[in-house]
Amino acid sequence: MEKKWFTISVYSENNVGMLNRISGIFLKRHINIESLNVSKSEIEHVSKFTIVINTTEDWTRKIVAQIERQIEVLKTFYHTDEETIYQESALFKIASHLLFDEPQIQNIISGSKSKIVTVSREYFVLAKTGRRHEIDEMHDQLEPYGIMQFVRSGRITVTKSTMPITPIINEFHQS
């Protein structure tokens, strides 16, 4: 079966040790997590893990089932790239003198749809949000001039279809 990118969305209670318990399932199957983001979700007191892996759908389905089996996981979904709207964020720290020494940099900045977050005498910081390849492209363009620091976040995703968590919680309260 063909390997693809899958985004797994895990809705869980916000408890100590959840990350360890969930990541252990990938470890057990020797699957590398390509990207991970943990944040609050649209539901109060419920955390959302967004995990990106590259594997077959069959394995993804089995992993999702094993995640969902964890006691404090409310619900887990998986989606292909086509089924989601997804973005990553990156920060670039670059020496300020390059703005004057290397005029090409200004062209890169204006072409990249990035934002200048801060500027000081020594450095300035660019924030870029987009798809992985867009961030990689910007990185590749800036690299020859020297990047002082670079960081990129995990993928964050919303899905085109609904992720019905609220009914699960309501059902519990009503039962």
């Binding site: 869980s12 209670e13 100590v16 040790g17 470890l27 057990k28 089996r69 006691i71 699960i168 519990f172």
Partner: protein
């Protein structure tokens, strides 16, 4: 505002009392009807032990000689009673010694709660004396775990621990309690947990799927049932029997399904898997509808998945959704408790028989009997076989004993030949294959079924892994019957070396001590049998004894267990020799 994540049972009285965390632990255990626990004391759990001392008339603590023994004893108790087994240990090495038992209980779906002491809250993460991250270590091998750092958490967490351990697909839970939380005083009241919003232990079987299953079964020409532990855990033994009899379907068991159905039932055709019976394996690839009930298609059951029951429609009754389509794709998957599902299915099943198909199993049995069974049970050679010892135990116990086995050749032989009339009577380490399981598990089994004979059948290898539990048996006068089948080897590994590694016996030859003297050193009556003529009387004397009894039988050193599906081969390629 606290969101509601758990629901508690309503209590009639709201009697809160001001007590220490350690005392609260005892009250929680008593509230969960626990009156027997296994464990080993140490620094970080001493406040709880102090309370155990005070409550010893209500809550009996059995001191094992190693924490691993405490887990296996708790497992043995749980498996024979269906209740939650409880083990308790201190922090650090006490906690890490529980890990094998936790992993065993996890893979064999055994309800168990383990309680560990932990260094005080302010020392967590400081590499304090006997500190270990048992939450981190135990996460992959527990159904749930939790670290309590203040006393006020104790009632709610303990209630959740018991609810989680025993509901749905049962499993082990570990609760780690820092020492400060054991000392702290708080206002204690207890109510049982009845629901957790993120946990759905009892999915309701879908009627449409039950109907599809019934249609497949009613139209099947060669239906075949394989049942597992889920039948016992789901208390579905009667329903299974009713289905088998009503539709006339031959039924075989996985190693953990053994004893869910009378072994002498005419439609009980034997064991599936690597050393299972010939017919149940080879005919898996001949049936037209395979009905799997409470089993998980373990690789030791299926052999190569590429050639497993490809011709058959597969119906899978299973409570754990993660097991559906994990190894074998089901045409109809019914998610739910086996008893509830079969109760819904039975009225839709037409009375039937499949005599011609059933006869194929009988033919296979005859072939296996001639090639293997006859020689195992009624050998004509000089050396004793493991099979004839099991047969003597069957005769002496009238098929009524609880048989606890360790891991290896003796386990396969015991599970192949032991006879059972009563459910929850076969206790073995199936999924994890934990050598050293049987002796401590037998202690728990005996304490859980005092009115029954409990026979531990163990190899000379596994016996020495937890041999220290002889002291527990002696101290508690636990009348278990211990049979060591001594072949002077790690027999199963030796068999593989003979068959697949050109007889290079790397580290499988054992120079053993005098086991009888060791047992006698622990003041347990002991006998040794070297000669067939002494076997029957020795087994009878053992079974007649009211005390613990040790029996060593010297068996043929290089016997092999057959039939056998070589690792990775198809069930069709099962070998009779």
């Amino acid at each position: 505002m606290q969101t509601l994540k758990e629901k508690k049972a309503k209590t009639h009285k709201d009697t809160s009392i001001r007590i220490s965390g350690a005392e609260a632990i005892i009250h929680c255990l008593l509230a969960e009807d626990v009156n027997l626990i296994y464990g080993y004391p140490g620094g970080a759990i001493m406040p709880v032990y102090d309370e155990l001392y005070k409550f010893q008339d209500k809550l009996h603590h059995v001191l094992t000689r190693h924490e691993q023994g405490a887990t296996h004893a708790a497992q043995g108790f749980a498996r024979v009673t269906g209740k939650v087994g409880v083990a308790i240990a201190t922090s650090g090495p006490g906690a890490t010694n529980l890990v094998t038992g936790l992993a065993d209980a996890q893979i064999d779906s055994t309800p168990m709660v383990c309680i560990t002491g932990q260094v005080p809250r302010h020392l967590l993460g400081s590499d304090a004396f006997q500190e270990t991250d048992i939450i981190g270590i135990s996460t992959p091998v527990t159904k749930w775990n939790y670290q309590i750092t203040k006393a006020s958490e104790i009632p709610e967490i303990m209630a959740k621990a018991f609810y989680i351990a025993k509901s749905g697909r049962p499993g082990p839970v570990l609760i780690d309690i820092t020492k400060n939380a054991q000392f702290e005083e708080f206002d204690f009241s207890y109510s049982r947990c009845i629901a957790i919003r993120s946990y759905k232990p009892n999915p309701k079987p879908e009627i449409a799927k039950i109907e599809s299953a019934a249609e497949l079964i009613n139209n099947a020409k060669k239906p075949y049932i394989v049942f597992g532990h889920g039948v016992i855990l789901g208390k579905a033994e009667e329903q299974l029997k009713a289905l088998v009899e009503k539709a006339g379907i031959p039924a075989a068991w996985t190693i953990l399904g053994l004893s869910a159905m009378d072994t002498d039932h005419p439609l009980n055709v034997g064991m599936v898997g690597m050393h299972g019976n010939y017919g149940p394996n080879i005919l898996t690839n001949k049936c037209d509808v395979l009905i799997a009930i409470g089993m998980r298609f373990d690789d030791r059951v299926t052999g190569s998945l590429d050639t497993y029951a490809k011709q058959a429609k597969v119906i899978h009754f299973e409570i754990d959704s993660a097991e559906i389509d994990k190894n074998v794709k089901a045409d109809v998957a019914i998610l739910g408790n086996a008893r509830e599902s079969l109760d819904l299915l039975l009225p839709l099943i037409k009375e039937n028989n499949h005599d011609a198909w059933h006869n194929k199993f009988k033919k296979c049995y005859e072939e296996e009997y001639e090639a293997v069974i006859k020689n195992d049970l009624y050998p004509t050679k000089d050396g004793l076989t493991m099979g004839e010892v099991i047969e003597e135990i069957n005769l002496a116990s009238e098929n009524k004993a609880v048989i606890v086995t360790d891991v290896g050749q003796h386990q396969m032989i015991a599970c192949r030949y032991a006879k059972f009339k009563q459910t929850k009577s076969n206790i073995t380490s199936g999924g994890l294959g934990t050598m050293g399981f049987a002796l401590p598990a037998a202690i728990g089994a005996k304490m859980g079924a005092m009115d029954r004979e409990v026979v531990a059948v163990i190899g000379d290898g596994g016996f020495q892994m937890t041999i220290q539990e002889l002291a527990t048996i002696f101290q508690n006068k636990t009348a278990v019957k211990i049979v060591v089948l001594n072949n002077g080897h790690l027999g199963m590994v030796r068999q593989w070396q003979e068959l697949f590694f050109e007889s290079r016996y790397a580290s499988t030859v054992m120079t053993n001590p005098d086991f009888v003297k060791i047992a006698e050193g622990y003041r347990i009556e002991a006998k040794k049998v070297d000669d067939r003529k002494d076997l029957k009387s020795a087994v009878q004397a053992m079974m007649a004894s009211k005390e613990p009894f040790f029996l060593e039988v010297s068996v043929e050193n290089e016997d092999n267990v057959f039939p056998m599906i070589p690792s990775g081969a198809s069930v069709s390629d099962i070998r009779l020799k």
